[in-house]
């Protein structure tokens, strides 16, 4: 089956923190800012609570991208969860790189509760980038 690029709509799993990014996404919605509807939002208490297992599971089950949204550095509700989340992504990137998997499918960004526009912009940018990467090649494997 050939998937034409213009037909490909990426599925993005988003982990948004309760205190900043989720509220930012909420603001984008209530402010009626348009952004691509490719993200499936999962609310988490803190970006630092997103274990690598959930990111890996999303990718292995066929998500085309994973987005992690946290508070800006220094603003974490739990003081340092976002810094730790960033280290987890660095660790994961390093592993994915060695395994030759695409680390560009995992994004971590800082969105505050007042940044509805920024959230919409990131969603546009990420959807475009994942479209360029194409569908997740892991998804077609049944023996993993």
């Amino acid at each position: 089956m050939v998937i034409k690029m213009e037909e490909f709509e990426p599925k993005i799993v988003g982990f948004l923190c309760n205190w900043c990014s989720y509220a930012g996404a909420d603001l984008a919605g209530t402010s009626r800012i348009q952004y691509p509807p490719n993200i499936r939002v999962i609310k988490v208490m803190c970006s630092g609570s997103v274990d690598s297992v959930y990111i890996m599971r999303a990718l292995l089950e066929g998500a085309d991208g994973v987005f992690i949204g946290g508070c800006h550095p220094g603003d974490c509700h739990y003081l340092d969860g976002n810094y730790k989340a960033r280290r987890k992504v660095v660790l994961m990137n390093s592993i994915l790189e060695t395994l030759g998997l695409e680390k560009e499918r995992i994004w971590i960004r800082w969105v505050s509760a007042s940044e509805g526009q920024k959230f919409a912009d990131i969603m546009k940018e990420m959807t475009e980038e994942i479209k360029k990467l194409g569908p997740n090649p892991i998804a077609k494997h049944w023996n993993i």
């Binding site: 660790l91 390093s94 592993i95 060695t98 998997l101 971590i108 023996n143 993993i144």
Partner: protein, 390 residues
């Protein structure tokens, strides 16, 4: 060019005590027996209440760590070329609920001391009353073929052959031992050294801490006159192992991409043995042993309909990649995961390159420094800014 990283060696001091190298005379050319006598003496004099040391089981099929309090029953081989289980995990098991009120001596090889250091840092072991007796490691044979090796019948001969690289001994070592990060113990209270010594005549006894000094008080030891040989031999073996590791990594760099990865783990039966034997995998209940990922029947059918089919039991690649994410920063390269695999998946081919890569990224050497925090609990505010915002 092979890049070689070496740790500091030579004379150093802890607190106000100057570290001195001593030597122990070997009786009748019996290296293993003489070390056994030394350990027996420690038990008899009550310097240690109990000892954790490798001893052959009655069938002689394998050597296991034994916790021993009766000196008359001690028949140990501190240098036995086998590592069936992680000694570090056992010390964690012994000390996790409450640390001992009297000293326990533990005889360990370097990879296990590194693992123990990591477990202490992860709050999984307490070494308050543990005296670490490190032994130079000559490598170990795979556990399921150990009984086939005639070398094990003559323990001292094995030591001599290994040091002189005579015969086939080196060829049969586990790949983890072939690519060992450092066969010389660090962070031990005392070290019993083979490299650079004539093990039929004398062994090096290096005292590294106050605990170690206390342990050997009153023992008949001589001050080592010449440490040049030792230093040279240590450098040589470290260089050799590092070179092996670099070549191994270069050799195995072809396991890349989802196709190669799926093929690599194709024989995995989801037994989770690799997790169970890993000294670093310390969770009391692993997520993958829980019912977190158990779905309702209809969801399984939905999953099948999405791809047409999928392999059961599922999630084996998810298990392995997650395990890597959780333990590889602290991976000490003991290779127990590979040894425990019933499907003979050569796990080290993946774990060693990834470990090297990740540990370089965080500039972290697991097991080297008791005070240094593990990378996943610390951070710097201005690091990795390209990851968060591009």
């Amino acid at each position: 060019m092979v890049q070689i990283r070496l740790q500091n060696i030579g004379t150093f001091s802890v607190g106000d005590i100057k570290m001195t190298d001593k030597v122990m005379k070997v009786k009748n050319g019996d290296t293993v027996g003489s070390v056994n006598d030394l350990l027996k003496e420690l038990l008899k004099s009550k310097k240690v209440q109990a000892l954790l040391v490798m001893q052959e089981v009655p069938s002689k099929a394998m050597s296991f760590p034994v916790l021993i309090s009766d000196p008359d029953k001690l028949n140990s081989n501190a240098f036995v070329p086998a590592l069936p289980v992680s000694t570090a995990t056992i010390i964690s098991q012994i000390t996790k609920v409450e640390s001992a009120s009297k000293p326990i001596g533990v005889v360990m090889r370097s990879c296990q001391i590194r693992a123990l250091v990591e477990l202490v840092k992860l709050n999984q072991a307490n070494i308050e009353n543990i005296v670490i007796i490190g032994v130079d490691c000559l490598g170990t044979f795979p556990v399921n073929t150990y009984s086939d090796f005639p070398e094990k019948a003559t323990p001292t001969k094995f030591i001599l052959d290994s040091l002189k690289k005579k015969g086939d001994v080196v060829k049969y070592l586990r790949s983890a031992c072939h690519t060992c990060k450092d066969p010389i113990p660090s962070n031990a209270d005392i070290v019993i050294g083979l490299y650079g010594m004539n093990p039929q005549k004398e062994l090096l006894i290096q005292i590294n801490s106050e605990k170690g000094k206390k342990l050997l008080e009153g023992m008949q030891l001589e001050v080592s006159k010449d440490t040049k040989n030792r230093e040279k031999a240590i450098n040589e073996i470290r260089e050799e192992k590092t070179k092996n590791r670099m070549e191994f990594i270069k050799d195995k760099s072809n396991i890349k991409g989802i196709d190669a990865l799926a093929k690599f783990f194709d024989k995995c039966v989801n037994c989770h043995n690799c997790m169970k034997v890993c000294p670093i995998c310390y969770c009391r209940e692993c997520l993958f042993e829980s019912s977190v990922f158990n779905l309702e029947a209809n969801k399984y059918i939905g999953k099948a309909e999405k791809k047409g089919l999928f392999k059961m039991p599922n999630d084996s690649l998810l298990f392995h990649t997650t395990r890597m994410n959780h333990m590889v920063v602290s991976c000490v390269g003991c290779g127990l995961c590979e040894q425990a695999c019933p499907s003979d998946i050569p796990l080290m081919e993946i774990i060693i390159p990834i470990g090297e890569n990740v540990q370089k990224e965080f500039e972290y050497t697991p097991g080297s420094d008791m005070e240094e925090k593990v990378p996943m609990v610390i951070y710097k505010e201005d690091e990795y800014q390209e990851v968060g915002e591009k």
